[in-house]
Symmetry: C2
Subunit: 271 residues, 2 copies
């Protein structure tokens, strides 16, 4: 049985002293570099693989500083602060000849039983089996590593202007393809599968990039295990596009109505 493309992409070699080596893989290639979600998952994997790490991921910020080239990279993980209830990690990815290409931080925290309350509810959704999967053939490779079942919002965009302005909001079922049991790395990747909103809003291709991505993990290990490989209910929206930058926020819900993660990003667009 062949290994899942995500597991291949997340393979890291421990180089000692918080350094890890890895390689980009063609399956997750985007326009001019790897899909940002797999970079986020790699940085998280490096933190989780650090021998001093305790607890589960709580927050991750990834700053996409420069284009990542095809080939090898090194991830350096540093424990900036080892607290009683949280650990604060600094992470940096670099490539020979390119220098620092990604910076980031991860907070891990102990799993605890506490008072719990859901102040937000998942939106109503059709059964995933009744929603056709978006065709991804012939598109950037990473799109084919996910199954997108779009219920609301543009599911694709044309390559020629002019498009009609559409809402920034999407609602869809999403999961790894082929299906794969959910873990925090997969969740970190899924949190970046929300197409950069301006492409959906304008309906045609322009140069865009995620500048900075922040994901909060609200799921415990048991929540991930309960969800398994079934599709996540995802919603995403953006608030404003101005001066070459835009925000967007997304939510990833388990199919039992548990909020697993929220993810925010600021994106750059050229014109």
């Amino acid at each position: 049985m062949s290994r899942h493309a995500l597991d291949v992409a997340l393979e890291l070699e421990a180089l000692g002293e918080g350094r890890f080596g890895g390689r980009t893989t063609p399956e997750y290639w985007n326009m001019g570099g790897p899909f940002g979600g797999v970079t986020a998952a790699l940085l998280l994997r490096a933190v989780l693989a650090h021998p001093a790490r305790r607890g589960r991921p709580v927050a991750q910020t990834v700053n996409f500083c420069a284009a990542i080239g095809e080939g090898g990279f090194v991830i350096e993980v540093r424990l900036a602060r080892d607290g009683r209830s949280t650990q604060h990690w600094q992470v940096e990815m670099s490539q020979e000849g390119r220098g620092t290409v990604t910076t980031g931080s991860v907070v891990t925290g102990a799993e605890r039983q506490t008072w719990a309350h859901a102040s937000a509810a998942p939106p109503p959704a059709d059964d995933p089996s009744s929603v056709p999967a978006m065709p991804t053939a012939g598109r950037n490779a990473w799109l084919s590593q996910y199954e997108f079942r779009v219920m609301e919002g543009r599911s694709t965009f044309d390559l020629e202007p002019p498009g009609e302005i559409a809402p920034a909001r999407s609602k869809l079922w999403v999961r790894d393809k082929p299906e794969r049991a959910l873990d925090y790395e997969a969740l970190a990747g899924l949190a970046d599968t929300f197409i950069v909103r301006i492409l959906l809003v304008r309906g045609y291709f322009i140069p865009v990039a995620t500048v900075s991505l922040t994901t909060y993990f609200l799921a415990g290990e048991a929540d991930l295990a309960r969800q398994g490989a079934r599709p996540l209910l995802a919603v995403a929206d953006a608030r404003a596009f101005r001066g070459g930058f835009a925000d967007q926020s997304g939510e990833l819900w388990a199919d039992d109505g548990t909020l697993l993660a929220v993810s925010h990003q600021v994106t750059w667009y050229r014109e």
Copy 2:
């Protein structure tokens, strides 16, 4: 004429090579350390004061690693990547005897005229003059450095359980007190004035802390100048409280309907 407390709190001495020295001030004291918003503003001020800095703030993440003690601190700023359209900064605050107390990153970007679109609108709001200001006397000092005119949601919380569960959402007018013309540092501070939601939801005091705060600045310099010292329309909400952590998101709108900043955080609570 005396200087504004925020300007006093943001005073930094350049120590060379990206290092800046400052001191906590009693006006912005919170429970067991300074108000997180003034820490965010200080980290931003240090980046903006760096001689190599170009462009305006686009994104800021602040990780509150450990309690900040009363007294002096050092902020170290490092340009991790100097790109064509963005600069990526790493920031760290430390105190003698306490080590690293705060880490963070800031992205700055050039001001540009581009296609613009508002996909979200501000909520309807009463005129600020018709909404009474929340009393802040006798509370943590930092609250008295802001004027809160709450239109929706709890404006305070009692000190004894049991409270009735309330919605996590707030809508209010907020500004520095005394009034002060808006700049990015003030905006970074205002972005953290959203009371940790669990206190409002549960209606009584429990130990809480912001773990990580991310703010996206959508305002250009002209937007800030146009707003001046008038109150900002603020909304905040949270989605889930579970396992000792909760998320929350806030929006800060100019009174002409321009979205100036969005801010997200993950908070820790004890039980």
